[in-house]
Structure formats: structure tokens, C-alpha cells
Symmetry: C2
Subunit: 111 residues, 2 copies
DNA sequence: TGCCAATACCTCGATTGTCGATGCCTACAT
DNA sequence: ATGTAGGCATCGACAATCGAGGTATTGGCA
């Protein structure tokens, strides 16, 4: 009934998740989304309408680099690789995220 | 200390924080923001441009009720009180939040 | 007295991020 | 031949946050 406009996703964390995913291995867009969805136990679903704009952001900021290639299944893919700047950015985002989560936790626990 | 550029706020969590705050005591808008900021150790700053629209949302949805009154300091204030529906909504939001955070944690820990 | 900071309410416009839909193309299986 | 899944991407709608602005009252201080 209604009204399930489930957030699906915690806004503002997508870039961090993508960067983190790329620390394990370079990957193409679709594969990144699949990985996140699988590892998160289906809790996080990255729609393509969120994914590709996010990758564009990361490219523009220089956090990742892209290269066209061919996947194992023979398809044309754009492979993203984390840059040195991307690693630093990830560290920053993780720090910020942990900081905010800690703040939220304090409120929610009613310390 | 607080970061300077884009400390921001974790989007999508404001309603939950407000509802949670009101479980401790009815309060007025400004007081709610102060409480969250203080308890979170200054990690969360709720701007008034976010606060009041959020309270409107909660009112419209019936999660809170409002009443005009006078604060201890003698000022005209609008006091918000959690409704039964608000309690249920809070439970829902907490469940969703925990679910998403768990998903994020799995990705970030690279299980 | 005059002034200003803090309290307290609220609105507006700009910006950003996510979502659903759509479109295109290729590989593979039925 | 047809459909399903992989893969890229963009578009417009929508919602939430942010900064700035506006009003008003209280209390302190010079």
C-alpha cells in the first residue's frame, strides 16, 4: 500500500562505495554496481541512473580514470581505475562518513 | 573538529533524528536542532533551512503534532510532540537505516 | 539609552543527487 | 527469430539540503 518509495539507498554514499569497490580491482560500471549489490547482500541497489552520473563525477574530479576495453565475455566495456587522488578522496570520505555516523549513533542511542 | 568544506549532513536521516529527539521530550524546533547538535558532539548541524521544512513534512504526514506555547525563557515557541504514528514511522526508519548501514559496512569492510 | 547577540519562527531560490524511463548496441541461448 | 542479459549512457522529474534573507522578542552591556 502504498507508498513505498523506499529510499533504497543512503544518499551521499555512492561515491564512497564506488571508490572503495575500485580499491579491490579495476572494474567497469555495470560490474561495480553488481559487486556492491552482491556484497551488500542486496541491501544496496545502484540504479544505472545513479551509477553513470556518479562515475562522471569521479572522472571529472580525477578520482578515477577510464579506459575502453573488452570484458571476459567479449563485450565492449569502460574500465575504471582508481587514481592516487581517488585513494585520498576515499580516505577523506570514509573519515567524514564515520564522523557523521558516530554523531548519528550518539543521538540514536540517546547517550 | 568539524571539517570546513562540505561537512554536510547525511541526507535522508534528518526526519529520523528529529523523531528520535522527540521520544525523549517534546520540544520546539530550535531546541531540537540544538539538542541534536549538542548530543552529536557538534558532528551534526541542522540548518534552519533544513529544519523547518523537515518539521513541515512530519506535520503533514502526521508523525508529529504542534502546539504554540511559551518557553521557559518567555519566548513564543511551537512545541512538537510525537504521535503514535510517529513512533511507528521512527521504528520503520530506524530499521531501514540499520539495514542500509549494514549493507554499506559489508562493502566497506570488503568482507 | 542605544545596540547587539541570541533565541525563535519561517520562506525562498539554487544546487545536488537519486530514480525511473528510455534508447542503443552486442553476445548468447532458445 | 526472438528474447534475455550484459553493457553504455542520457533525460526529466522529484526531493532534500543549504545559504541567505526576513521578522520579532528577550536580555545584557556600555
Amino acid at each position: 500500500m502504498a507508498t513505498n518509495k523506499t529510499p533504497e539507498f543512503l544518499p551521499g554514499t555512492l561515491d564512497m562505495l564506488i571508490l572503495k569497490t575500485l580499491t579491490r580491482a579495476s572494474n567497469h560500471g555495470y560490474g561495480i554496481a553488481q559487486y556492491i549489490q552482491k556484497v551488500s547482500n542486496e541491501a544496496l541497489r545502484i540504479g544505472e541512473g545513479s551509477l553513470y552520473p556518479a562515475l562522471q563525477r569521479l572522472l571529472v574530479n580525477g578520482w578515477v580514470e577510464a579506459e575502453w576495453g573488452i570484458s571476459e565475455t567479449g563485450r565492449r566495456v569502460r574500465i575504471y581505475r582508481l587514481t592516487a587522488g581517488g585513494r585520498k578522496q576515499l580516505a577523506r570520505e570514509v573519515a567524514e562518513f564515520d564522523y557523521l555516523i558516530a554523531g548519528i549513533a550518539r543521538v540514536m542511542e540517546g547517550a
